[in-house]
Point group: C2
Chain length 332, copies 2
């Protein structure tokens, strides 16, 4: 599972939804990485690689091919796939996953850590942007300005959970929901006054809905804006559009957000650290993050650092294909 | 030079200009750190600590007190102090410095590394925000979006070098210069079109000048706006103000800036990562960064990682006083 550092790092992709396709693409932008293949539970013949020529293998073939892979990038879902896949595959290979159920991170970490330590592999869980890059900013912001407050805003971007909720409303034939940060709340936060803001005070919800034949606009609108948990307590707008417009203008999956830390070092000095992501495609960017962390996992493994890690355990320089010397000379 | 992890980390402050005073202040915001004292080349009786009760020692006493210090924070200048002090003190103690002459980082690193390795100490050079936090963003931005372009904007903030240049103009009794990022250039960069921009296309210069008695406004203005290197090629504005206004409104040292990475993962997906600092006091914020990295240096030393490091070698979690477990549970 090691290769000389001059040879490309060999990446296996587990799963081939939007994220797996993004990983295929991301690897093409990184000359020091090479795709070994996609591993799928589907019939390999039914899988269409994003990049022509990417080999597709059955998941069952992974055991036999483990020695051809330096790092596996796991592209399954956090609810059903990763809780089982990550520990099982960490027992065999170095892995990186994008486990994003914040509340269950500790148990997922423990399961992956035990499997990786026993096998002498290196794993990194919860790579991506939140958890991931945003987590780094939350930790660094507090460490750099201990007397302060941190804020996370999401959007503008598509929320899959809220879009799914819209689609379950009777009379809805298709829908997309955008989470939008409230500009006035952001300005308040940037002023450094440390306002107390709930998630709903920080965000509004914009819904684009295609009506089913015969459905009544007002009935559907009311069902949406009064839906508990999802919309009732938010400022929610509903726009009805045609199926063509939905397909044409709302098929992309943009997302992003802000992590803002404001704090004081003395009565006279107030500071604001702001980190912002504007992502044209949530899955493609997340895939790009996974791939950079796959490089770091490979290096951690070479250093003998086994077991589970998170982005908080990874020095920034390990993400770059460049040498530490080059980074000091040209990037510091 | 080690202490049980429950006891506070003992910090020595070398030098007592604005940065050293900021370090005194920053330590008060970090309950896991304690100031052992200020070490000065001046007469200790002439040094006024920022925090009442901070002990002040002669530099010459450092050797005798080295075993009372876990990490020395070096607060001298990059031109004359740190090239000698950092290697000399790394031969005796763990250190962190804010060496900021970008072009000489490799030789400074080599000198400090040799001294620290020989002594079995841990050193971190060039902590601060640029180099420092901005360096992290430049490295991570490129690693996360390899097909892209990076931009650094500085300001709005006081440039000491340009303020000094103003004060050397005949007829100038006092002056402060602000570097201001050009909003239109920033918008261009945020659009993801990857414009080619020079430092002068990205910044304008605002000068606040107090005239000496009898000096002529137009003569002074011309001398400023035509000054080669500093102002001639920039859009420069000069405002004449009174000595009281200069003292009242321009004594603070605000600074900050932006690191922006734009890049594409496919023809359809463009992304922008933006990191912004708005600093009420450049020296106080820089001191706060140095202190967080002093904590990381202490931990690296406990792990047996000797020699020189930069911010690029430090995992984000090491900056926080919280345990890795707590960070995973509450911050990921």
């Amino acid at each position: 599972m090691t290769s000389p550092s001059a040879a490309p790092i060999r990446i296996g992709i587990v799963g081939h939804g939007n994220l797996g396709r993004g990983v295929e693409l991301a690897i093409t932008h990184n000359p020091d990485l090479r795709t070994v293949g996609i591993f799928t539970r589907r019939d390999p013949a039914a899988v269409q690689p994003r990049i022509a020529g990417t080999p597709v293998h059955r998941m069952d073939d992974l055991a036999a091919r483990a020695d051809q892979v330096d790092v596996l990038v796991l592209c399954g879902g956090s609810k059903d796939d990763l809780p089982l896949q990550s520990p099982a595959l960490a027992a065999r290979c170095n892995i990186v996953d994008s486990f994003d159920t914040h509340a269950h991170v500790p148990e997922h970490f423990a399961a992956v850590d035990a499997a990786a330590r026993a096998a002498g592999t290196t794993a990194l869980i919860s790579a991506g942007w939140d958890p991931g890059l945003f987590s780094i900013q939350r930790v660094m912001g507090e460490a750099l300005l201990p007397d302060g407050a941190s804020y996370t805003f999401w959007g503008k971007g598509v929320s899959q959970g809220h879009s799914d909720a819209l689609r379950r409303v009777p009379g809805v034939a298709g829908a997309v929901q955008y989470t939008v940060p409230v500009e006035a709340a952001m300005q308040q936060v940037r002023s450094g006054t440390r306002p107390e803001l709930t998630t709903r005070q920080k965000h509004t919800r914009e819904c684009f809905v295609v009506l089913a034949p015969g459905a009544d606009r007002e009935t559907v609108r009311q069902a949406i804006v009064t839906m508990p948990d999802y919309f009732a307590d938010y400022e929610t707008t509903v726009r009805f559009i045609g199926a063509e417009e939905l397909a044409r203008d709302h098929a992309a999956m943009p997302h992003g957000g802000f992590v803002i830390r404001s704090g004081d070092t003395s009565d006279a000095a107030r500071h604001v650290i702001e980190y912002r992501l504007q992502l044209g495609s949530n899955p493609e960017f997340t895939a790009s993050v996974l791939v950079a962390y796959a490089r770091a996992v490979y290096r951690l493994h070479q250093m003998g650092r086994h077991g589970a890690h998170t982005v908080l355990d990874v020095a920034p320089g390990l993400l770059s294909p460049r040498s530490a010397e080059e980074l000091r000379r040209d990037y510091l």
